[in-house]
Subunit: 136 residues, 2 copies
DNA sequence: CGCCGATCTGGACTTTGTCTAATATTCGGA
DNA sequence: TCCGAATATTAGACAAAGTCCAGATCGGCG
């Protein structure tokens, strides 16, 4: 599957999001790259050409995408949140020094032996983060 | 093992940390409670009685404890870091709504099928976070 | 064209955390 | 015990991420 600006409107509609110019640009930034981006990075990307999208809109839009399940949040760096266009179950490899974040396919990873959940609780997700460092 | 202010100095020295009044208070806040605390919470606790420890000292001290391996950092909430006096290998259960964070013993948890690390990389830690929500 | 709800915006504000330069404390040695 | 150097603490300025709001703008429809 190949992402273009032109198929962003359909993607947004399929997630019950009204497609606007700004939302299309922001979605395109994430989906065309298939990378983990911070709000700051998204803002820099969408404002490279000319369109001028405000900070408030970038944050509002990313939050909207999150609520609608179009993207997922990755909390791995204490100073900023990353947004992930890959919403299929997967884990993350985090290079502590460089801040580089990459995906680990969940398909072959098995997590067993977790204790039963407290009553009245339901799992929203299991985040597995492998923190690595360059051999010094 | 039972933690008192009086045995904090020894604990600090055993981790190569010069025990000072402020450091003892901060360590005592964490170890006597055995809870995950944010810097803000630590500051509130140590300043409840009278001692008046500054914000800079709270942050400096928590970072020092981290470097010396006396506490560990838990990154689970996008808005603040939690400090964990439990440095033995364990995982976390995070209640998304309430923000409550609790330990999952690592002893019976098995994680298998992780892909090999990129060359020249060494694992610094594996963080497993089970995000749960109250059944609605 | 003109209306109206939805969206976008600048900028003030909040929160978490960092930095700095001045002050205070600690601690080993005389 | 006293002293000086090294170490630690501090107030407050600063920075960065993120939130909020009231007013401006957009865009689809009659
Ligand atoms: Mn989806
Ligand atoms: Mn230890
Ligand atoms: Zn990912
Ligand atoms: Zn813990």
């Amino acid at each position: 599957m190949h992402y273009t600006r032109d198929n962003m409107a359909g993607l947004l509609r399929s997630h019950d999001i009204n497609p606007t110019h700004q939302r299309i640009e922001i979605a395109y930034a994430l989906f065309s790259r298939q990378e983990h981006l911070s709000a700051d990075q998204v803002m820099a990307i969408v404002n490279t050409r000319h369109s001028e999208t405000s900070k408030a809109t970038v944050y509002n839009t990313l939050k909207l995408f999150l609520e609608k399940g179009l993207v997922r949040e990755v909390i791995v760096d204490p100073s900023k949140v990353f947004f992930d266009p890959n919403t299929s179950p997967h884990h993350h490899l985090y290079e502590v020094d460089s801040g580089k974040l990459s995906d680990i396919d969940a398909e072959h990873v098995v997590i067993s032996g977790l204790p039963p959940l407290p009553a009245g609780m339901v799992t929203e997700g299991i985040d597995l983060i492998v923190r690595v460092r360059r051999t010094s």
